[in-house]
Structures are given as C-alpha cells and as structure tokens.
C-alpha cells in the first residue's frame, strides 16, 4: 500500500534544505510508520533529488516523523531551476512510497 493511506505530509524549505513531516492519520499507526519509513528509505526514494544526507526526527507525542533532506533544492529556493523551486510537491511524492499492507482505516478524519 502507499504511505498516503496512513499518513499526511507537508514540505518546508530553508535555503537548500527541505524538510518533510510525515504524520500518522491515526496515532495508533505511528509505530508502524516509524518502523517502515526510515531515513534510508526516504533517501532512496529521492535518490535523484537529494544530494546530501537525510536525517529523521521522531515526535511520538503527535504521531509524527520529520525528515530533513540536505542539498535537496538545487542550490536553494532562490537559485533552483525547478518549476517548483521550494520543493512544495516533494511531500506528495513521498506519500507515493510503498509500505507493507496494513488494514485500511474505514474513515480518515479531515
């Protein structure tokens, strides 16, 4: 299944560093996400994009992971050649990551 079924995400940018929060729709899924959405997998997912290291910070209190991707924005928002220089769309790309199946939730609260 895709990560999108269990989590939502938001991208932020500072200079040439992009961060993506991955937040469990249901707090009970946090441990499952923490097991399967590792810094290594995120780095591999963005192999063509992220030139630097990827760090992961854990926030079990709010059921969230925060990925910090260095040298990820083509030199930074101000000089990137990308149509999306901020990398805003990277969160949606990450939500396409395949993770092992888990029983789907009947309803996702907005």
């Amino acid at each position: 299944m895709k990560l999108r079924e269990l989590a939502h995400a938001r991208t932020g940018d500072k200079g040439n560093v992009s961060n993506i929060s991955v937040i469990a729709h249901e707090p009970g899924d946090y441990a499952f996400l923490a097991e399967h959405v590792t810094a290594e997998r995120v780095k591999a997912h963005f192999a063509d994009v992220v030139r630097g290291r990827v760090e992961r910070y854990e926030l079990p209190g709010i059921g969230a992971l925060n990925f910090v991707m260095h040298a990820a924005l083509g030199g930074g928002v101000t000089r990137s050649l990308s149509l999306d220089p901020h990398g805003k769309s990277l969160s949606s790309s990450l939500l396409e990551m395949e993770i092992p199946d888990r029983q789907q939730r009947a309803e996702i609260k907005p």
Partner: protein, 446 residues
C-alpha cells in the same frame, strides 16, 4: 489568567488582503501581525532602495494599510509587521501619510532598524552555514546582508507607545513573541516562556497554512470553502499556552492535523529550533481539540539563546533562461520528446554555455521528483520546459529563443511559446556575533 488575542494577517508578501480586514473588524484582536518578508525579497528590496532612497519596502504596503488601518484604529488593534523590508523608516513615513489621508490622527508608528549588517559582514570573513565556503566567496557580488533580529526592538517600540511597529528582517516568530513579552512582562531570559511563545508565533506566522491552506487533498483531507479561507488567531495565556482558532463564517478548518503540519513546517531538529531570542523546543508540544476549529496548544519549552544571529546574504549568482512549448493530441508525448532533443542539440550547435540545464515535460517530470516520477498513462497534452543557468544574460535569452524557433522548425502541431530570462539573486547564510549588531527605534506621529 490574563490572555492576549493575536491574529495573523498575512503569511507572505503577496497574501490575500480581506482575511486581515475581517480579523480587524470582528476578531476582538489585541494585535494583528503581518509576516511579509521572504529570503529573497529583502535582496530585491535593497536593490530598489539603492535606486530610490524612499523605496525598498513591501510593494503591497499601501494596499494593506489602506484596508486594515480604519478597522484596526476603530477597534484598538495594534499592528506589527516586517513590511519595512530594506527600508522600515521609509515604510513608517508611508504609513503615516496613509493614516493622515484617512483622517486618522494621533497614531504612533515605530520603525525598527539595525538588521542591515552589510558592513559588519564585509569586515569579517565568516564561514557560511548550511553550505561550504566563506563570505569572501560572494563578497564582490553581495547585494544585501540582513540579520534576523529578535523581539527586543519591537518590545522597545511597544513600550514607547507605538500603535504600529514596522521592521525589516526579524525572525518571523519574534513578530508574535514581542507583544507577548511586552504585555505579560516576560523577561528576555525566561527561556521556557520564550520557547512557548515561539511555538505560538511559529504556528501563526504562515497565516492560512494553519487554517486549512496548503493542506486540502480531496478524499483524504477535505477543507470547506478555501476561496474564503479565514486567517488564524490565538488566545495566548500568561503561561504561554494558547488556543488557535479562526472566525466563524470563514472558510477553512483548524484541526489537530493542520496544527501538526504547521508545527513542523520549515523545522529541522524540533528540539532545537534556533531563534534570535531562544532555542525553542517543539518536541514536547501537546495539541488538543477543544471545540469546532479550536485547538489548544500546551507544552514546548526553550533553552538559552546562542551568542550569534543568523544573517541572510543576498548575492548576484547567475542568469536563468527558460522556454516552454506545447504539443497536444495523438503522439503529443513523442513530439514533445523530439522537441527536447532538438533544443538540446541546437544549444550545443549555437554554443550557448550553460552551467546547468534541465529539459523536462510539464505534466510528467517537471514538478514530480523522486521515485515513480514519470510513470502513468500517456498524456493528451505535453508542454516542454527547457531551463538553464548561464553566466551572461545574452546566453540566457538564447535558451528561450531556441525553444521559440520550434514554431517554424520543430515537430508538427506545436504552439504556445513562452520565454523568459532573468538575473538570479541567491541567498546564503552566516552567523554574526550579537555584539556586532546595534538596533534602533524611530517614530512617526500622525
């Protein structure tokens, strides 16, 4: 316990204007804060000021103040903003003129100075942060150097009786932290409270991004009435806890999910969020839904501030040239790919020197990056995009020109040529000792 109500009136320089008017009219606010200054904006503003000493502040300043000043004055709402950009004193004079034209007498408008540290940065060869190199590497191309100031000069202005405070580069959360310090008497070394106030400021600083903007994903995260998105307000208590909300009958949504996304927006290590006033710790923040579109924020803390301030340096970097062109119907993708190969070869044949070059197809691989990019069914229309970095404006212009010549020289059925060439002012950062920075506050009275 005393509480203070702060609204966010803008999250970037071009943001919508009416949500702030709505907050000023019926929000019961004590303060309305406008965050309008991005990394690159101040470098462009510095250039504008160099050609005109009265320029260099936010281009929408007049529109915003004309719209919000009457309800703010009528309801006793104080305004704090970084719309001063490269010229806070010039912005304060402009706001005073607007107020007089609106017949609003007796207003005290403060301008905060001291963020322009170009001379101090030039005088020392500091290492850059987040990238290799030193200031000397960009010194001859530097167009601006602005330190992220903290809350102190804004607190000074409020203590001086200002109704409106206009700054240049100030850390975004400090725009919100300052009224909390002023009204609650928080000291500059109460790290726990400054950390909590920073949490609140961080949640509010992007305005609509916590009320359902930058969030909707139909079927997964639905948000009502985004065309009338309401901007956020926070009821902040003296202990630093707060409730985030928005006005009734506005669009959008404030939920645990919108607050969680915004809490981590542009954050690296959540336990060490470096600010001029404090090193804030977001790792222990707790969120609780306490009503419709109302989320209580508690926890979070702070640690002693560092001895340096972050400085954003704008420098001339390069030129970028770009061209776009569309193909549609059967075989659109094949013709688009052919067009890209033609342009790539033409740039080589005609000797256009590029430091970087991207050849991509909008709808396939221009925005979507990472694994799975480029997969999916064939498109019924495809738009090519060729963009390159050059050392000269002339070469940048030639990139778009080569794309445009596809009209008469490229594959069948191509149209919609568009081209541009621009100078790139890029930004790098360094850290400057606090002792190098002198802030000041000046006033205009209407």
């Amino acid at each position: 316990m005393k509480t203070l109500r702060i609204g966010a009136g803008a999250g970037y320089s071009g943001d919508r204007i009416e949500p702030a008017v709505d907050l000023a009219e019926r929000g019961g606010l004590d303060y309305l804060v406008f965050e309008c200054l991005a990394e690159r904006t101040i470098a462009l503003a510095q250039q504008a000021r160099r050609s005109d000493p009265d320029a260099g502040y936010d281009p929408l300043l007049a529109d915003r103040f004309n719209a919000v000043l009457p309800p703010c004055v009528a309801n006793g709402v104080k305004i704090i903003t970084n719309m001063g950009a490269a010229n806070p004193a010039g912005a304060a004079r402009a706001v005073a003129r607007i107020a007089r034209d609106l017949g609003l007498a007796g207003l005290k408008i403060a301008a905060v100075s001291g963020d322009d540290v170009m001379e101090a940065v030039r005088a020392r060869d500091l290492p850059l942060v987040e990238t290799d190199g030193r200031v000397a590497d960009v010194a001859d191309r530097m167009v601006s150097a602005n330190a992220y100031l903290g809350a102190a000069p804004i607190v000074e202005a409020l203590a001086g009786g200002a109704d409106i405070v206009i700054t240049g580069r100030v850390s975004d959360p400090a725009l919100f932290l300052a009224p909390l310090m002023h009204e609650f008497g928080w000291r500059a070394d109460e790290w726990d409270r400054l950390g909590k106030g920073t949490v609140v400021g961080h949640l509010l600083e992007c305005a609509g991004q916590i009320t359902g903007g930058y969030f909707a994903d139909p079927g997964y995260k639905d948000v009502p009435n985004l065309a009338r998105l309401g901007f956020p307000l926070a009821d902040v208590s003296e202990d630093g806890s707060a409730v985030i909300g928005k006005l009734p009958e506005t669009g959008g949504r404030v939920s645990l999910k919108t607050c969680k996304e915004q809490l981590l927006y542009e954050v690296h290590d959540p336990a060490r969020y470096y600010q001029p006033d404090v090193v804030a710790d977001f790792s222990t923040v707790q969120l609780e839904e306490v009503g419709p579109d109302r989320v209580a924020v508690s926890g979070g803390t702070g640690h002693a501030r560092t001895d340096t301030l972050k400085v954003s340096i704008g420098y001339f970097d390069s030129y970028v040239g770009e061209g776009q062109f569309s193909y549609a119907g059967a075989g659109a993708l094949a013709r688009a790919k052919l067009a890209l190969r033609i342009v790539e070869e033409r740039l080589k044949l005609t000797g256009v020197a590029t430091r970087e070059l991207r050849l991509e197809i909008i709808g396939i691989d221009s925005v979507h990056r990472g694994a799975r990019a480029g997969s999916g069914p064939e498109l019924r229309e495809a738009r090519i995009r060729v963009v390159g970095r050059t050392d000269s404006l002339k070469d940048a212009i030639r990139i778009g020109n080569e794309v445009e010549t596809l009209w008469l020289n490229g594959p069948a059925g191509g149209g919609g040529a568009w081209k541009s060439a621009r100078e790139v002012i890029a930004a790098v950062s360094t850290l400057l000792p606090r002792s190098e920075i002198r802030t000041g506050v000046s006033y205009e009275v209407t």
